[in-house]
């Protein structure tokens, strides 16, 4: 077996050193009833070729998004990732290292985290960021729990423009952790008014920008209303590329920014693993969940990095920790950081401008399809299109024509008749004019 270096000769010699007759003697504490005598009913070991053949056949049953004109978003975005990113994250020193608990021999990972935290703070317009969390939805739940700790209150108001997976995740956490969630109804037009719902029990208001339906809104006034009532404003960002073009949450008075970093550096991977982003203000640092990396010096006075403020974390504080989180999404954070390093200021702003331009072009084309209209007034790279009939079967019909034409809102918001005809459509640098033409033509045909 190619991953196992011990030979039978080794095993025999080692058993002799240990002083036992057989390997079974080392499993003697397992109760008899639980011992597996022979082999389980699963296939035996296979070579690389056989495994690759079997799993390759499974992969081949899927339609890769890059193989057809595709316009899906809804919190997961297919951008072009520079070749250097995947090359670098496969360096064994990054790929196969553990959490940097021994800083003297983990400066690579630690410097990456320090730079990542800086990049996230810069693009969100916040003062500090952590080393990442599992994904956007769990980062959102952690943000709410942090707001609860800071305000000593237990009621979160969730915007109708928040991604439904995020809303559902926060709601689940709320039920078990013990806080209340107030859900505003789905808000495709971006017109909801949440300020009037804030009361003395409200710990935070959670909004998303760009919103789930693509709409852009300035939440500055909402932030002021929160602060007046002693509550916090949490802004969710599911498309970090937008931050190259759009006013960042930090400039709107956000207290916590949480979101999804997948769009930079990572592929789609059917939804995971992705990257939870988490940024906040300096004064809240001791309530931040998850890992933080900080700069310091070694005994020779040289600049170096360590994991820090770990008195917040479960391995020190156990049941009194700020979160039960034990890991970050480190390799994804590395991919994100490399992609942003390659883009830099000039690249991110240009990429964002291209994204917006493509989306405006697509919106114009689709608005010209008979009986279709764009619902979203202002948007970044994604918008909501109203169709003359239910969107889900239209998307199926488009898939038959080898076009992945967006996400029907009903997939995520089922049971709302008024949302049945809505289709979420995203466009970016990967979509050619020909793709957009093919989409508009196919949609016209399907709706005819």
């Amino acid at each position: 077996m190619r991953y196992l270096p011990l030979t039978d000769t080794d095993r025999k010699a080692m058993l002799a050193t240990i002083g036992v007759e057989s390997i079974d003697a080392l499993f003697k504490d397992v109760p008899k009833a639980a011992r597996i005598g022979g082999l389980l009913d699963l296939p035996r070991h296979q070579g690389e070729l056989e495994v690759e053949r079997a799993l390759g056949a499974m992969a081949a049953k899927n339609v890769a998004m890059g193989s057809v004109p595709s316009f899906l978003g809804a919190g997961v975005y297919r951008h072009h990732v520079p070749a250097a990113v995947d090359h670098l994250i496969q360096r064994g020193e990054f790929l196969t290292s553990y959490t940097p608990y021994q800083p003297e021999i983990s400066q690579g990972t630690l410097q990456v985290l320090f730079e990542f935290q800086t990049q996230v703070a810069l693009i969100t317009g916040m003062e500090l960021a952590n080393a990442s969390l599992y994904d956007g939805a769990t980062a959102c739940a952690e943000a709410v729990m942090m707001a609860n700790r800071l305000t000593q209150r237990k009621k979160a108001i969730l915007s109708g423009s928040l991604h439904p997976h995020y809303r559902d995740t926060v709601e689940t956490y709320g039920r078990f952790v013990g806080f209340e969630t107030v859900l505003a109804g789905p808000d495709p037009a971006g017109k909801e008014t949440l300020a009037s719902r804030i009361d003395a029990a409200t710990s935070c208001v959670v909004v998303q920008n760009p919103g789930f339906f693509g709409e852009l809104r300035d939440h500055t006034a909402l932030g002021e209303a929160c602060h007046k009532a002693g509550a916090l404003l949490i802004v969710i960002v599911t498309e970090p590329v937008s931050l190259g073009a759009v006013k960042p949450p930090g400039a709107m008075g956000a207290d916590i920014v949480a979101g999804e970093g997948q769009a930079l550096g990572m592929g789609l991977v059917f939804g995971g693993p992705h990257l939870g982003l988490f940024a906040t203000r300096d004064r809240f640092v001791r309530q931040v969940p998850g890992r933080l990396c900080g700069e310091t010096v070694d005994v020779d006075g040289r600049r170096g990095y360590v994991l820090t403020l770990s008195a917040r974390e479960q391995h020190i504080r156990r049941e009194k920790a700020t979160s039960n989180i034990c890991t970050n999404s480190n390799l994804c954070a590395l991919a994100f950081s490399i992609h942003l390093a390659l883009l830099g200021e000039a690249g991110l702003t240009r990429l964002a401008a291209i994204n917006h331009g493509k989306a405006v072009q697509l919106a114009e084309r689709l608005a010209a399809v008979p009986d279709c209209s764009v619902v979203t007034d202002s948007f970044f790279n994604e918008f909501t299109l109203r169709l003359p009939r239910a969107a889900a079967p239209v998307v199926e019909a488009l898939a038959q024509r080898r076009i992945l034409g967006g996400v029907p809102v009903s997939r995520l918001h089922p049971g709302h008749a008024e949302l049945e005809n809505l289709l979420l459509v995203a466009a970016n640098e990967t979509n050619t004019n020909a793709d957009m033409g093919a989409f508009a033509a196919a949609l016209t045909e399907v709706l005819r």
């Binding site: 196992l4 296979q46 081949a60 553990y98 320090f114 020779d300 479960q314 039960n324 994804c332 200021e345």
Partner: protein
């Protein structure tokens, strides 16, 4: 220099006496942060001109600069190559972190995970276009259920600790369904910190259970603390002492007798895969870490994946989503209605860590039922070989053999003035990543070594020789040598007190200084 570093400056390395002009030392290149390599306008990607359109940002355009540095592609490559070389990795040597299971990460897994049919599919594509992905989820669920003997598995948790949270939520949901509001969760003192943190996150108070003299659960203490207000007992088995809880079935009966649920932390499943039927241990729920037993890369700290196996009594509460078969093929149950009305709901975005499922299944299929059993046997054999080879020079925490990890205490350092931490730092100078230290908490100055099945006998023999040699140096009274270690690593001991007292969590230009290239 801080107070702390002044205090230890007596241990400066000899290397400092021959400084280099560059600060680099041989192949160890000094590398400043990205932000100190900025030239405004420089870019590592070529992008076309944006389409000329009328903006629809609605007055929401970003004002002012972001502050990101501009680098070219070769600079970026060199930056990450240089800093990567400051990391220890399982690819470069034995990584004996106890209870972390640092095993080889096969590259076949990486190759398969990058097939466009897995890497380039969107979670919200029509299910008719992702039948292969659902088939893969269904297949790994089958492997996990067969390997554990448990009837159901929830795939969505994003990591081990998230799996714990999911498992405890299932327990809480089942108790709610029974109309019982139990208040306490019992957790052994030897447990990983995530166990009590998870129980607390689910609204329970945590009641610690003592270990007996042999390092196992003290049954009398458990019996005494069990009661009608106990929701669950959380047990890591094999434990973080590297021991199999031989009374596990009796424990299960006691827990069930009190109407509570039996949570098993499967962090150490690598020791028993293919040899132990977990359902027969009487457990109700257990999470697995795919990055431990099933070789998905740790990546410097995630991403992980923490599937949770469930007994029949807890399966109705499993989180969304899951895969079902119907007339049209495979589909996802994504909403809390109809067939999923008892589900606890969603705990994460999308459908779980698909990229990790692909890697783990590739590993399972490569090993097969025979290979996985051999994995457990070799992992246990390697740990016992370490224990037997070091037991005279070091001090084992408990008598007898162990499972997948060998646990020592710091009695062998008694009176030397050298701590477990000093000993560990000396190991890094020898080119070894240290073992887990000061954990489990019940053992004084603990040294917990888990070699895994990845190590050859030669590799173990070299490691053993070094550990023995260091132990002898410690006992010979070479205090200064240990306290000044490490000397040869990219950085020497770092001032963690300074880092925590004056947190610097991001790069900023020094006051009054413009960036290098401005």
């Amino acid at each position: 220099m801080s107070e702390w570093s002044k205090a230890v400056s007596g241990f400066k390395s000899e290397d400092k006496e021959t400084p280099t002009l560059s600060g680099s030392r041989g192949l160890q290149e000094e590398e400043p942060p990205l932000f100190e390599q900025d030239a405004p306008g420089r870019c590592g990607v070529d992008l076309p001109d944006p389409p000329a359109v009328k903006s629809r940002l609605g007055g929401m355009a970003r004002q002012g600069a972001i502050g990101l540095p501009g680098l070219s592609e070769p600079q970026v490559i060199r930056h990450y190559m240089r800093i990567s070389q400051k990391n220890y990795a399982i690819d470069t040597g034995i990584y004996p972190l106890g209870s972390c299971t640092m095993k080889h990460n096969p590259r076949l897994n990486e190759k398969i995970a990058r097939l466009p049919g897995f890497a380039d599919i969107h979670p919200l594509q029509p299910v008719s276009t992702v039948q292969g992905a659902l088939e893969l989820m269904d297949e790994i669920a089958h492997w996990i259920k067969t390997l554990t003997g448990m009837p159901a598995v929830a795939l969505s948790p994003g990591a081990g600790a998230h799996g714990e949270l999911c498992g405890m939520m299932c327990i809480r949901a089942a108790l709610d369904h029974r109309g019982e509001h139990r208040k306490r969760v019992l957790v052994p003192e030897s447990a990983h910190g995530t166990n009590p943190a998870t129980a607390a996150a689910c609204g329970y108070s945590v009641d610690p259970i003592k270990a007996d003299a042999g390092g196992r659960v003290d049954l009398a203490s458990l019996r005494e603390k069990l009661g009608q207000d106990v929701a669950a007992f959380m047990l890591t088995n094999p434990s973080t002492c590297g021991l199999f809880e031989r009374d596990v079935r009796e424990i299960a009966d006691m827990v069930h007798g009190a109407g509570a649920y039996f949570y098993c932390d499967g962090a150490n499943f690598n020791a028993i895969v293919g040899r132990v039927n977990c359902a027969e241990l009487g457990i109700d729920v257990m999470h697995l870490n795919l990055h431990k037993t099933f070789s998905t890369p740790h990546g410097g700290g995630g991403p992980g994946s923490g599937p949770v196996v469930l007994a029949k009594s807890l399966a109705p509460y499993a989180p969304l989503p899951w895969v079902v078969h119907d007339a049209q093929g495979l589909r996802l149950v994504e909403h809390k209605d109809g067939e999923a009305k008892t589900s606890l709901g969603r705990i994460k975005g999308n459908h779980g860590q698909m990229g990790m499922f692909v890697r783990a299944l590739s590993y399972m299929m490569s090993h097969g039922s025979d290979g996985l059993r051999q994995v457990a046997e070799d992992a246990v054999l390697n740990a016992n070989y370490l224990l037997a080879s070091l037991k005279d020079e070091l001090t084992p925490a408990f008598p007898g053999t162990c499972m997948h990890e060998a646990l020592f205490d710091d009695r062998f350092l008694e009176g030397t003035g050298i701590t477990t931490l000093d000993f560990a730092k000396a190991m890094t100078d020898e080119g070894y990543h240290p073992m887990t230290m000061y954990f489990p908490l019940i053992v004084h100055g603990a040294l917990l070594m888990e070699p895994t099945e990845t190590e050859s006998k030669d590799s173990l023999d070299r490691f053993i020789a070094v550990i023995k040699g260091l132990a002898r140096r410690a006992k010979a009274g070479e205090v200064g040598y240990f306290q000044a270690a490490p000397r040869l690593t990219p950085r020497r001991r770092l001032d963690e007190t300074l880092a925590a007292r004056k947190p610097v969590l991001r790069w900023r230009p020094k006051p009054g200084e413009r960036r290098a290239a401005e």
